[in-house]
């Protein structure tokens, strides 16, 4: 079987690599890699499909970054391949691929070392884990990392060392950012394929930000969001944005699943419009765009912010072919009774084969796939640990 597509699955207890041919009917499942560790995210380089980065973490042992140069067959901590270690000038092995230190230097403006805590006091920024890894569109050695407590880091040496893109955290609103229930995390990074200097990020619970100068300065782009759970529902920051998505052919059009509300922007985030329309509930986590139809989007409605499961025990993906507002339920092949799993924000992705494949993973350990635009679904693996993230690679 010649592999045409590779699905990368991060779970609560390890990473899994699933491959299939272009029919996507039979799947080969490899894993768990890093068994017992939480894998918040793994993602392949668009510039080299053999290069994959993974975020491996644990409450006991902290953060580890893993890298594969052979499509997920073997892994190593960057800088430590084959037992050889990159060294500091003194000859001391570096072992710094998991070193994420916030920049508090005066070079990047005033040092910013605190943010708002649950009780309203200021709290030091503390690195906890990497939520999201976004490899460069053109350079396999350059990767962005979104971390908790919210910050953006970048490596340009294949993950051997990481440096903060400090302008984001240094934005004047930084001290007012506050954690949501899941922590204060930078969970989404979108790189604009038409403009290498433009990057979008989303932070729970601060909102969405954009840079147009490759990370030096950032602006919040949350106008039009309305969040009743914050003192000023239309504040510049403080919104719990769960996920943003973009079609590469239309980088100025953004879609958002907010804590409540599905939104879209037609002007690179300058303003947002609600497109929840006829969804049964507009709470949810993931949102994604069809690979070939920039106005076809998908969400998974979840009952409420305190009941993280589908309405009526029925797992349904909703599709809009009009860029929002008009939605249809997709349920064929999905459990339609007694289903109380969740689909997390990073756990939905598409491939770009001629018939676009869609994939999502659940907290119950199933990964479902559709090869007919979402009309029907099959579980391609169904008994994994809780799924945190799903990414897809098209193989040459």
């Amino acid at each position: 079987m010649r592999s045409a597509v590779r699905v990368l699955v991060g779970t609560r207890k390890g990473a899994f690599v699933l491959t299939s041919d272009d029919k996507r009917e039979r799947w080969d499942v490899k894993g768990p890699h890093f068994g017992g560790w939480e894998i918040y995210h793994l993602k392949g380089s668009p510039a080299d499909s053999n290069r994959i980065y993974a975020s491996q973490s644990s409450g006991w042992f902290g953060q580890i970054i893993q890298r594969s140069d052979d499509g997920g067959k073997t892994w190593y901590q960057p800088g430590l391949k084959d037992g050889k270690s990159a060294t500091n000038p003194g000859g001391i092995p570096k072992g710094e691929s998991n070193k994420f230190v916030y920049d508090t230097s005066s070079v990047n403006g005033k040092p910013l070392t605190t943010h708002q805590w649950y009780d309203g006091t200021q709290h030091p920024w503390e690195f906890k884990r990497v939520w999201h890894l976004e490899p460069s569109l053109t350079d396999p050695d350059t990767v962005y990392a979104g971390v908790e407590d919210a910050g953006l880091f970048r490596t340009t040496d294949g993950g051997e060392s990481w440096h903060e893109v400090a302008g984001l955290r240094g934005h004047a609103s930084g001290p007012s950012w506050a954690p949501g229930a899941g922590g204060m995390c930078l969970h989404t990074i979108l790189l604009d394929p038409a403009n290498p200097k433009r990057i979008y990020v989303a932070i729970s619970a601060a909102g969405t930000f954009r840079t147009d100068d490759a990370g030096t300065t950032w602006k919040p782009i949350n106008r039009g969001l309305h969040s009743q759970y914050i003192p000023n529902p239309e504040a510049e920051v403080g919104h719990c944005v769960h996920k943003i998505a973009m079609h590469p052919s239309r980088p100025n059009t953004l879609f958002m699943q907010k804590h409540w509300d599905v939104m879209r922007s037609n002007d690179a985030g300058e303003s947002w419009l609600e497109v929840s329309g006829n969804l049964p509930t507009d709470f949810g986590f993931p949102i994604t765009v069809h690979a070939h139809e920039p106005e076809t989007i998908y969400v998974v409605p979840i009952k409420s912010d305190s009941e993280h499961y589908p309405p009526d025990g029925k797992l349904r993906v909703y599709r809009s072919r009009t860029g929002g507002s008009e939605w249809e339920a997709l349920s064929r092949g999905l459990p339609q009774h007694d289903c109380y799993v969740n689909v997390l924000r990073g756990a939905m992705a598409v491939d770009s084969l001629d018939s676009c494949g869609l994939y999502f993973g659940t907290t119950g350990g199933q990964v479902y796939a559709s090869v007919d635009d979402g009309d029907s679904w099959i579980p391609i693996v169904r008994d994994l640990p809780a799924v945190f993230s799903v990414e897809v690679q098209n193989l040459p």
């Binding site: 560790w37 042992f61 800088g79 570096k94 230190v101």
Partner: protein, 98 residues
């Protein structure tokens, strides 16, 4: 020669089986042992103590000679049984998290 027993996940990261044996120059303390451990196995940097503060990670403990040494200052000499290799220094992952 110092003997160190690591929890399974760290043995996997370091690609070692069983005990780790380290030669220490000078006095054996938590700091000198961990320095030597990390120099030999740089993939363990940041997993036992924080990269920056060098503080022990909260859910790890250091046991030796049936004593909990976790809260001892890092430059306190380890028990002589550990320094001579008669007893191992045990890095333990706390039972936490369910």
């Amino acid at each position: 020669m110092i003997r160190v027993i690591l929890p399974p996940h760290l043995r996997n990261l370091a690609h070692v089986n069983g005990e780790v044996k380290l030669d220490i120059e000078g006095q054996a303390t938590q700091r000198t042992v961990l320095d030597a451990l990390e120099a030999r196995y740089p993939m363990l940097r940041g997993t036992i103590r924080d990269h920056l503060t060098q503080k022990r990670r909260a859910f790890l403990r250091f046991f030796a000679c049936q004593q909990d040494l976790s809260n001892e200052p890092p430059d306190t000499p380890l028990p002589s049984e550990v320094a001579t290799g008669k007893e191992p220094l045990v890095v333990v992952g706390a039972i936490a998290g369910g």
